[in-house]
């Protein structure tokens, strides 16, 4: 069930009404059933995989808490290995086989390795990471084990963040299922306004940008440098608005029922360094890797070379988390390298308007180059696209005409492209205003029911009139 479908709108209204209509003791049961229904709307049988992960980590959490000494670590390892095994079988098995196949061929063998035909369960990487977060927190002693199986299941399955996050921590979410959430206009309007902003980002910006991106990348071999450049810039817009849009809808849907999920995006394209960028992009995943990979490797509390090694390892794993393809691994390592470079040359930056602008532009440029790896199907394709943009981008009137015509192939191309850039510019201007006047937006607009009502009404118009009304999937569902 896609967030941007009429089915979800009906589901959301029914579940929210039921949530407030039911007595407190029945709410978690209803939410759990609703979450199962929501998940089963994709591929019903895959709920069994989710159930297996829930069962393993639920019991391991209790065993870890009740055990002493080395056994605690054993249970933690069992939990991590079994949860990661599910991830490996469904997500990485074929990648592992194809890599082994290639290496074998290079060594002169032809092993004919068996490949799997399993479809990746939707949102597998998200709920396995949320599950792992719980077990690790229990092991670290920062979270008491959840002994109520239903509540624990709901922690993993809570429908707003089940398929694409935010990847919650038990300390933030579990206790909320025990709280009495009374209906409040503030929560309702705040939640709805966040959802409206999410729908705007997804349906007005991301899906519109996707039309051009899909055409360019599908026919990248014949595309000009300028077409690839425009396509890559639009992909950076698309992936941000697609995923941030999903996150806003998820956070808003939870907020309407009184739940507070963690912020997942904080205007990442306004970052002035790669370090800042990663503090603003997919925050729930970045902090997950920081807490459970980077810090256990002793982060920056080691020698400089080891610190840089830690960064590279963390980002390589983060890249692999995104997908079973070398393009994602390279994208991860590339971001790690950028952080290393930033550590080396960052001290040369000076203060002042020109330097700040330059930092902003350079950061955006490097982020954009990284996304070419993210969007490409193969590593050679990514390098070829970067090479063509760098060497054969022509800025003549004819090149622009040709590039614009690619959008739909007919006279509607110019309107589509102009509208896409205009609406995207409008969105970033709004974000810039929020960046510039954070306190005003946080204290006045975000707290005012009246302003939220205005935002809902206006964003609803924008979605209905300028949105792409065909329900299309979210990019991060594939992870």
């Amino acid at each position: 069930m896609l967030f941007n479908s009429l089915g979800f709108v009906a589901f959301f209204i029914v579940i929210t009404c039921l949530y407030y209509a039911l007595p407190w003791s029945a709410r978690w049961k209803m939410l759990l059933v609703a979450s199962c229904y929501f998940y089963m709307a994709f591929v019903p049988v895959y709920i069994l995989i989710l159930l297996a992960t829930i069962l393993i980590d639920y019991f391991m959490g209790i065993l870890i808490a009740d055990a002493q000494g080395a056994r605690r670590k054993t249970y933690l390892v069992i939990s991590i290995v079994s949860t990661c095994a599910v991830l490996f079988i469904f997500k990485y098995y074929n990648f592992f086989m194809s890599t082994s196949d290639r290496v074998s061929h290079l060594l002169g063998f032809s092993p004919n390795l068996p490949y799997s035909h399993l479809i990746l369960p939707i949102g597998l990487s998200f709920h396995t990471f949320q599950s792992l977060s719980y077990v690790i927190e229990v092991y670290m002693g920062r979270q008491a084990p959840e002994r109520h199986f239903g509540i624990y299941s709901l922690y993993v399955m809570f429908y707003p963040q089940l398929v694409a996050g935010p990847i919650e921590r038990p300390q933030n979410l579990l206790h909320q299922f025990y709280e009495h959430h009374h209906f409040s206009v503030e929560n309702l309007m705040r939640g709805l306004s966040m959802m409206a902003w999410g729908y705007f980002q997804k349906m007005v910006i991301a899906d519109r940008a996707a039309m051009y991106v899909n055409r360019v990348y599908a026919g990248w071999r014949g595309a000009s440098g300028l077409e690839l450049l425009i396509g890559s810039v639009l992909f950076a817009v698309q992936i941000y608005t697609d995923f941030a849009g999903y996150s806003y809808i998820a956070i808003g849907a939870a907020r309407v029922m009184g739940f507070e999920l963690m912020t997942n995006f904080n205007h990442p394209y306004f970052a002035k360094s790669i370090g800042q960028y990663w503090g603003r992009w997919h925050i729930s995943l970045s902090t997950w890797f920081k807490d459970y990979v980077y810090f256990p490797l002793y982060g920056d509390k080691v020698t400089v070379p080891r610190h840089y090694r830690n960064l590279l390892i963390t980002f390589a794993i983060s890249g692999l988390w995104h997908g079973a393809n070398w393009t994602y691994v390279i994208w991860g390592v590339y971001n790690g390298l950028l952080l290393v470079m930033e550590g080396l040359v960052g001290k040369w930056w000076r203060k002042g308007w020109a330097w700040t602008t330059a930092r902003h532009v350079v950061t955006l440029l490097f982020v954009l180059i990284g996304f070419i790896f993210f969007r490409s199907r193969t590593v050679p394709q990514a390098f070829a696209i970067i090479g063509r943009i760098a060497t054969s981008t022509s800025l003549t009137k004819a090149s622009f005409e040709h590039a614009i015509l690619l959008a739909t192939g007919d006279s509607s191309s110019l309107a589509l492209m102009a509208a896409t850039f205009l609406l995207t510019a409008g969105m970033f201007i709004l974000e810039a205003m929020q960046e510039g006047r954070k306190a005003f937006f946080k204290d006045s607009i975000a707290q005012s029911v009246r302003w939220q009502a205005v935002a809902i009404v206006l964003l609803f118009q924008a979605v209905m009139i300028f949105g792409v009304l065909r329900a299309s999937s979210f990019i991060y569902f594939q992870f």
Binding site: V185, L188, M189, L192, D410, S411, S412, L414, A415, L416, A418, A419, L422, L423, V449, A453, I456, V457, F460, Q461, M464, I465, F466, G467, L469
Partner: protein, 307 residues
Amino acid sequence: MTTLLKTVLSALLLLWLLVWIKYRFEHHLAPTTSGIQGELHGPKNDILLVGSSHTRQGYDTALLEKSTGRRAFIVAYDGVDLASMVPLVRILLADPSRRPQLLVVEANGGNFGRAPEIEEPRLFFDAPPEMKRALIIDYLRTHHGRSAYADTWTLIANRGSELILTWPLVHSAIDGLSYNGSYLNKNVPGIAPEIFPQLRVPVGGGEPDRDQVAALQQIVSDAATDGVRMIFADPPMPAPVEVQPQMVALQQKFKDFAAADGIRYIDGARGFPTTDPAMFTDSNHLSTAGRELYTSRFAEAIKPELP
């Protein structure tokens, strides 16, 4: 709850108002050198050609005017089929003082075999409210179920809205690139010879669609009622497309219906070098060279039709 109710009602009321304004007035933002509004607001035309992009890219109006000595105008929208042409022709012939001497309706075998559809939002955008209404009624008559109503809503409220946002830029560009509905100073190259043999267009089973047949007869009847002389014309397509069995069957059926109604049918492919890749830019559109050649031949062919 009052806040929520007020918000929902405000959102719906404002949406209704905006959509009504869009529906009622958007055609005033249409370009003035092409499309419906170009035809309705320019000088009276002697030769009026109506069709899809197949027609737009099939004729050079400047050349046609030079060859015939008459004013010519193309009203073409991508993918327009006979069903959409019914309200289009009606609106173009509505004013008796502006009726052309010759109406040329596109005879496109590919469109003849498929169910009615509105492919290009510009058609709906450019249409005055009465034509919009006719298009919607026709769409709901030929499409059924919940999706038909959802499509209609999308058509009214959503499709073409980019044009409202960007019309000063887009329409000045279209105005600068077109002359009386055909391309101005635009060089469309021929197709690569190695791709040429693979060219095909998607056509159904070779049987004409029932609604398209009814639309064809309606256009003939409307033109006769309005006293306008009309012909059907099919600009040439590449040889590999012209010989597709379903295409041959559909074109033959089209010719049969035209003959039964006593309407002349100009087969553009006849005597045209359809095997020359330089004449075509894709599976059903002519290149600049092809357009110029076909327009010259077409001008000679219609001279006897002009008073």
